[in-house]
């Protein structure tokens, strides 16, 4: 019972941050909800272990990333209307921001789960390739390959997201 109380308190306190991570990994509210829920069920089952290291949030994030990478959901059919997103008049920053968000959400939908995880860690969490590799328990080469494939795909489906600079040159 005490375990459950601790788990409840933790989720209530850190739920919004974990929700953000789930949403940025999936780009879809329904998928994010499913991903976070599955992560929390697994966390609840191992709550003592999560508390043992004194960093339950790190533990939960690790479960979420692994869950995302190995999630066996039916492949989702993706509908792309990228070509129909209207060009924005210069200065219309809010509209432009909304369009960028739509572009990213749709772009995420066409990426493989591992590619989304790598992009999230590299471009949202701002981790280096070495740190990303450590998080995912894989080699730097694997991280590079996933990042390269993801950016290549993004350039194809949403070039505007990468237009202002060459992201492949971001520090490694």
């Amino acid at each position: 019972m005490a375990d459950h109380e601790g788990f409840r308190e933790f989720v209530l306190a850190r739920g919004p941050a974990l929700s953000r991570t789930a949403f940025l990994l999936t780009g879809d509210h329904a998928l994010a909800e499913d991903l976070l829920q599955e992560t929390l069920v697994k966390t609840a089952a191992r709550w003592r272990r999560a508390m043992r290291d004194g960093n339950p949030e790190g533990y939960v994030r690790k479960i979420m990333l692994n869950q995302m990478r190995t999630w066996r959901r039916p492949r989702r059919l993706t509908f792309l209307t990228v070509g129909e997103v209207p060009e924005t008049a210069a200065g219309a920053d809010e509209a432009s921001q909304a369009e960028r968000k739509v572009l990213l959400k749709r772009a995420l939908a066409v990426l493989a789960p591992r590619q989304r995880v790598v992009l999230y860690l590299r471009f949202y969490e701002d981790l280096t390739e070495a740190e990303t590799a450590a998080q995912l328990d894989c080699s730097i080469g694997t991280v590079k390959r996933h990042a390269h494939d993801a950016l290549k795909r993004l350039r194809k489906v949403a070039p505007r997201l990468l237009a202002e600079s060459d992201i492949s040159e971001v520090r490694s």
Partner: protein
């Protein structure tokens, strides 16, 4: 260093909602442990007695499962129904129904609760997304969408779609991605324009849909479905070769129906089989990568399943008292029983996977039927994924 992608991620994070529910996670954990315990106990008993090993499929986590109608069930209107609250998450919808003509409409959620839908006009033009997450209904001359999981609502204004007087918004078809609904602005079936609504975006983004390349939107322009490639599947101009084009396809016996993706559906089960006749127009629907067409012949009505290349995959003969509704999460769904009767109707799903080969082709075996729900004899229903009906 900040790159455009860094910045967009920071912008996108503002759209995240709070999905965390510790009590739901703990309840799911309890269910899984109970199930595992029961499975282990069953295995131990069976092995001990007969040495027979049960192979049980790993349980699907409850929160990931597609909501399902739980057969057998009887749906009746609640005595004291609560209106669907705006801005509140109520859970995925599995059915919308009206118990009788001009009665109120009710949403049934995956856990069996029912909510009254206060639309104006009171009937028609409801829709549920294929995954049961989004509900749409008319409110005056506008259209309102509800996110049944996230709790948001959005109004799509008619005048944002068309300025022509007398035209109203009607749900037309869901795309292969369950977040996107195509709405048509029409008057008496005469479509003025189509828009695609992204339900997953707060406020529901509207994208105006251009007509297919080289074509005007005409009275006959009618998308049966949107494929995963994003292209509409509709009647092809080749249909003109069979008849002067008319929106009404009753009265013309189509043996072949050419579609815009280059494929042609053929009714070839028997010489008398056609896709339409003097009493019935074309009824063609798309779900995922499958096309379903209703055919009529001396032997009766049937539903034929095709792939996108027009190859016939299965033929499902209907019983005399069955009316085809359309493909849904539950299989191809029909209503059994006489509409308007005092008694009841039964919602039945046909499974095109339960097929048997015969000399006349592929046909559905009798085991491919599953009774889903019993409804009042005067009820009309809307299933997830159904839009124009």
């Amino acid at each position: 260093m900040t790159t455009p992608l860094n910045r967009v991620y920071r912008e996108l994070e503002q759209d995240a909602r709070d999905y965390a529910d510790p009590d739901r996670a703990l309840a799911a954990l309890r269910r899984r442990r109970t199930r595992r315990g029961l499975t282990a106990a069953s295995l131990a008993i069976v092995i001990g007695v007969g040495g027979v090993v049960l192979h049980e499929r790993a349980p699907t986590p409850a929160n990931l499962a597609v909501p399902a109608l739980q057969p057998p069930g009887v749906i009746e209107p609640p005595g004291n129904a609560v209106a669907l609250p705006a801005g509140t998450a109520v859970g995925r919808g599995v059915l919308i129904y009206s118990p009788c003509r001009n009665c109120a409409n009710f949403l049934v959620t995956a856990d069996g609760r029912q909510y009254r839908l206060d639309s104006t006009p009171a009937s028609g033009n409801f829709t549920l997304s294929p995954d049961g997450r989004y509900l749409g209904m008319p409110v005056g001359e506008n259209y309102r969408s509800f996110d049944l999981i996230g709790g948001g609502t959005a109004d799509i204004r008619r005048d944002a779609v068309t300025e022509r007087p007398g035209y109203v918004l009607r749900p037309w078809v869901w795309t292969a991605d369950p977040n996107f609904l195509v709405l048509a602005a029409h008057r008496d079936g005469d479509v003025d324009s189509y828009v695609m609504i992204d339900m997953s975006v707060p406020g529901a983004n509207i994208h105006r849909l251009p007509p297919p390349a080289g074509r005007k939107i005409t009275i006959g322009y009618m998308a049966y479905g949107y494929l995963s490639t994003g292209t509409p599947l509709e009647l092809d101009e080749r249909i003109h070769e069979q008849t002067p084009f008319s929106r009404q396809t009753e009265g013309v016996a189509f043996k072949e129906v050419p579609l815009s993706n280059g494929s042609t559906l053929k009714a070839e089960h028997s010489p008398s089989e056609t896709f339409s006749d003097k009493d019935h127009g074309l009824q063609i629907q798309v779900r995922g990568e499958r096309i379903y067409a209703v055919t009529y012949s001396a032997e009766g009505t049937a539903v034929v399943q095709y792939d996108l290349r027009g190859r016939r995959l299965a033929r499902m003969p209907l019983m005399a008292d069955e009316t085809p509704l359309g493909p849904s999460e539950y299989g191809y769904t029909v209503i059994r029983g006489q509409y308007g009767s005092e008694g009841s109707q039964t919602l039945v799903s046909l499974s095109p996977t339960a097929v048997s080969l015969s000399s006349t082709g592929v046909s559905l075996s009798s085991t491919g039927r599953r009774e889903l729900l019993t409804l009042p004899g005067t009820a009309t229903v809307v299933l997830p994924g159904m839009a124009r009906y």
